[in-house]
Symmetry: C3
Subunit: 338 residues, 3 copies
């Protein structure tokens, strides 16, 4: 993937040898092979370091451009001939270690820099309220209002006629026009990625972004995490209620409506015009088609075809769920004196 | 409804003709008929523009004072004789367009105004902590503490001996005495109202307020949305735990106890002294009586009579739910080798 | 318990007589008996005032050092001989009243004190971003980054190489090294403790702390409440996702993984290495063993033995839950034309 330099400063390329050295790993391939970026194994371009975890059983396919990869000894056979290889029993951890030597997340300066960075581009027709902080390299479009004590992180691009609510925060994100974030919304934090390291659990770094297309609305205290090696994308006019969680790499279509307290797990896809009741949960990597309706509290564990209406936990077609509930209720009532 | 001028600036009345012109709609009635306010169809007073959506099937009754209304052609027959009419195939959208030309939400000034507005009335016995922002026209009573980086919006009235937590925000709200908001609580954001517009989904504007009566406590990162054309009201000594969502137009009685992660949907009514376990959900427009107990995780889809104890999703009387669970468990165990 | 003077200022000891006088209660014992602290009935040390609620049926045991206690007349017989007694029909309320005369929660100073208190100890190698507020007596270690508009409360101790997210807040807490709080996380607010008072419901004060051990990660807008008379403790390398609620007095082991929107109720214990799916709820005082897995949406009402995998609401072993669901589904399908 192309790492967005507005959010991550490039620290320069590494050679295969220096990268392997960082993590104390062995390698095969030209020691001078240049590692210029990072990616996922299915999407990596030439020069982008990827990793294959475990035996790669869950890995659907490898990028044809993959030319340098971290793998455990056990998965070495999966690496295409000619690709450089770094051997690690903790491939994701080793990959993260090298990635962090290639890219550094940008941060706001110290307090002495003041609330509005001198390198931010704030349109004269935008209003920055008291206490709001605008990071270096951020851009705020005409007619946009940043309410008090909101935080716009380094490099964040916000279009025209947006409203960023009080105490909301936005990092590693691109916002279109007429985007509304209610108070306390959290856009672009790193997602929840826990990986094993040599000393125990570690947080996996996230190098993607959040894209909020035109006229997206995000409710109070809702959270949308940035992607790992790709973007989390919320389609035009999609409306998300308070206290929802949208995890890394999720792609929501246009005009999706999500009521409060939903939990949409990593890499979920949702088609245009779907409508979710309150407290819905969707497991990771599930695809929900266009025009799907989910009853409040539904817990979705598998793909839902376009146009369907589901409910229950684990979720199933609404009629089936209701029929089962009614049947159970009748049976239990009939036999309560058994 | 009377729009509270502390939160919404009046932009002056419109004539029927100018209002219709704004949205390109046709109308019948005196072109000079004055539109001075807005309301819901069941509550509007003379001069207040209301709307009737669809064929009005869900509309229980119309205000006897209704004298100007936006309706689709199909619902024209429902309008009382003599009332002025604006015809729109998107009545709520047209109503919102006109409403936004009548009233404008007040905002904090620019950063140059400083953190504490010169027009705010802060009692000398109140403490405003570093980084807190107090908007124009806000009032803070004696003995009240505003913790760091909290935001008190324009016109907000806070009584005596309240505590507003760190990074909490309050807009369009009236707070009594001894009210406590924990850190990150979000009071008075616009509710989740999605309506169709000519280009797709639009956010419905909200013109109501939040009323927190004496000794209400609101947990960390909990959200209470303001009403659409009425107020969201939380009764005296009601206690709301962290991460709860209380939607627009909800009315909670006195001494209600709501544990964490509850989702109370729009226009729900809850009677005095009810107690809800964690992760409870209540569908919109449901009425829950006084003294009701809801088991943790209950998902309530219909009215609950006073004094009852319910559980499950969809919720039912607790004994019935438990009996069904026990019966199912026994049956499945007995037949597991079938 | 020893009250941590970094978070609570001691207002000096009280005599039994003066303490009883505060609340208008009667007492037995030496009027000059010194009350120097507070505690729970099972943990109180000499001089620490405790209380016994109701008839004490739920009270497992009393501390052998208990020498002064608030009890209702009905529970007087449970008090060990020789202990001083304050009689109250609202023992917890009376205890809280006296506790508040013994200790006062420390607060940030007024806005005029500036964002970084002169009595805070900020390591020169730490970075405090614009808008962040650091309270009196707080300490920030080397390499730690406090992002914009975060709030570090009075006396809070933060170790090395931590990251405190934008708009996050931390009160009454001790953080180890390499602790990460994402944006909007709420650490150390008072927990949800509602008690009856003479006029109705009251918030029970909380005198404990939150301890986040090394390499703990807390997600965006997640909440961890401080304990009542003890600490809420999150073990090393435990990872908590966005929008989770961790209540007062919870103790989580090491390397616990908790996905988004979980609700962990008061005094729950969780063993090392347990993993919870999204939207899990656990009732108060439940003990979950080490290495337990909970399926997404599980609602746990009773203890779970180490190594088990549970699901459903009320939760049970996953296989049993799945078997019941499958059986119900088959039965209802077979009889749908009955």
């Amino acid at each position: 993937m192309a790492i967005d330099s507005r959010f991550y400063a490039s620290l320069g390329a590494l050679t295969l040898e220096s990268a392997a050295h960082l993590s104390g790993a062995s390698f095969t391939g030209d020691p001078a092979h240049a590692i210029t970026g990072i990616g996922s194994a299915d999407m990596a371009k030439a020069g982008e370091l990827a990793f294959i975890d475990g035996a790669g059983a869950g890995q659907t396919s490898l990028s044809e451009h993959l030319d340098v990869v971290v793998v455990p000894e056990s998965a070495r056979a999966r690496v295409p001939g000619g690709a450089a290889v770094i051997i690690s029993s903790l491939p994701r951890f080793t990959h993260s270690l090298i990635a962090s030597a290639l890219f550094r997340l940008r941060e706001a300066g110290p307090a002495s820099d003041g609330n509005i960075s001198s390198s931010a581009a704030v349109h004269p027709g935008a209003i920055i309220s008291p206490g709001a902080v605008i990071g270096p390299g951020a851009a705020i479009g005409e007619g946009t209002l940043i309410r008090p004590n909101a935080v716009v992180g380094p490099g964040v691009q916000i279009g025209r006629n947006c409203v960023i609510g009080a105490n909301a925060s936005v990092h590693c994100a691109l916002l279109g026009d007429h985007v509304t974030l209610f108070a306390g919304a959290r856009i672009g934090e790193a997602g929840f990625g826990v990986m094993p390291g040599p000393q125990g659990l570690e947080d996996a770094p996230h190098f993607g972004r959040v894209i909020l297309q035109d006229r997206v609305t995000v409710g109070a205290n809702a959270c949308i995490d940035r992607g790992v090696f790709a973007d989390t994308i919320i389609g035009e006019r999609t409306k998300i209620d308070n206290l929802c969680q949208i995890a890394h790499n999720v792609v929501l279509g246009r005009s999706v409506i999500i009521a409060a307290l939903a939990g949409i797990s990593g890499s979920v896809r949702v088609g245009d015009g779907s409508m979710f009741g309150g407290r819905v949960g969707i497991a990771d990597h599930v695809t929900v088609g266009a025009g799907v309706r989910l009853a409040a509290s539904a817990g979705v564990l598998r793909d839902v075809a376009p146009g369907e209406t589901w409910g229950g936990t684990p979720a199933k077609p609404l009629r089936q769920w209701m029929r089962e509930l009614v049947w159970l209720s009748k049976q239990a009532a009939a036999r309560k004196h058994d």
